[in-house]
């Protein structure tokens, strides 16, 4: 089973819009990432996000290529400082591949917890729009790949 952990793409400042939708760059980054995932032939069986606008918008863009454009679900337990317990439980009860769009520091803690058992156990350089692909095997979780929008010049 694969678990795709995504940090929402860049959003506008609170002063510009209190709900913080994606910025122009953020939207372009999400689209680049969606194209990359399409080329890489990635499809998931379920997509969830935190419910914050920047996560929802990122999830909607990625869903176009990885989840046949379906509307991703909001779930509890993906807020920036939430415990990772809920997503861990969801990952364990999900058989197909799952993509979750959320925030920092949550996503870095989740990656580290999967790989090392400790939320501060590994160092990952997430930036807005980053996707990390973890795979659960008989040996536990392993990192399969990771991609960030700034590495994708034009796609």
């Amino acid at each position: 089973m694969k678990l795709y952990l995504v940090q929402h793409a860049a959003a506008v400042d609170k002063a510009i819009h209190p709900k913080r939708p994606l910025s122009e760059t953020g939207l372009a980054d999400a689209i680049k990432m969606a194209a990359y995932l399409f080329e890489a032939d990635i499809l998931v069986e379920r997509m969830v996000h935190s419910g914050k606008l920047r996560a929802e918008e990122t999830a909607n863009v990625l869903s176009k290529t990885v989840w046949l454009g379906q509307t991703p679900h909001v779930i509890e337990g993906l807020q920036p400082n939430d415990s990772t317990d809920r997503l861990m439980a969801l990952a364990h009860e999900t058989h197909g591949d799952l993509m979750a769009v959320g925030h920092l520091p949550f996503m870095e803690r989740m990656v580290a917890r999967c790989l090392t058992g400790r939320e501060d156990g590994a160092h990952f350089g997430f930036e807005p729009g980053t996707v990390a692909c973890l795979e659960r095997t008989d040996d536990g979780w392993q990192l399969n790949w990771m991609q960030r929008p700034t590495t994708l010049r034009d796609y």
Partner: protein
């Protein structure tokens, strides 16, 4: 400083493990990765490879695309049986953006060591032709993984695979 850890492409079978060349598939996998990275404007000043043929051939393909003015050098101690801790300790003295072409389990253990401080634990699956990019944090000795790709992501699935 950026550090790229690479596992050699798929190699032919052969009598002597150290002489096995890349297979046609291995060569085209590494070429696909090299051309993807070149297109993303990634370049390095130094490409290092192990003493084994498949790592040297992988390095040659990557160096042509990503280090046209750079140097290529052979390095002892990064063979499959190399000493991961000694290699990681040596990185302290490195300051140029460098790509290191080697093997499993060495590369996966090095990646684990950089990210978690421990070589064991198998935290990463390193397929043939995969590249992992790390950044040394300006705030301390910690390395962060920035991205990781494998041939399958940039060339699509082979019909009889996955």
């Amino acid at each position: 400083m950026r550090l790229y850890l690479v596992r050699h492409g798929k190699a032919e079978m052969g009598a002597h493990d150290s002489d096995r060349p890349l297979s046609a598939r291995g060569r085209s996998d590494v070429e696909a990765v090299a051309s993807f990275l070149k297109h993303q404007d990634i370049s390095v000043s130094r490409v290092v490879h192990s003493t084994l043929t498949r790592a040297r051939e992988t390095a040659e393909i990557l160096a042509t695309a990503l280090a046209p003015d750079g140097v290529m050098e052979e390095m002892d101690g990064i063979e499959p049986w190399g000493d991961v801790r000694a290699f990681v300790r040596g990185l302290v003295r490195w300051d140029e953006d460098t790509m290191v072409c080697g093997h499993e389990p060495f590369m996966g253990e090095t990646a684990s060591m950089l990210m978690t401080g421990r070589a064991g634990g198998q935290v990463v699956t390193v397929k043939t032709g995969a590249v992992m990019a790390f950044n040394r944090s300006p705030f301390g000795p910690n390395w962060q993984m920035r991205w990781m790709i494998k041939p399958r992501l940039v060339r699509g699935p082979k019909p009889d695979e996955d």
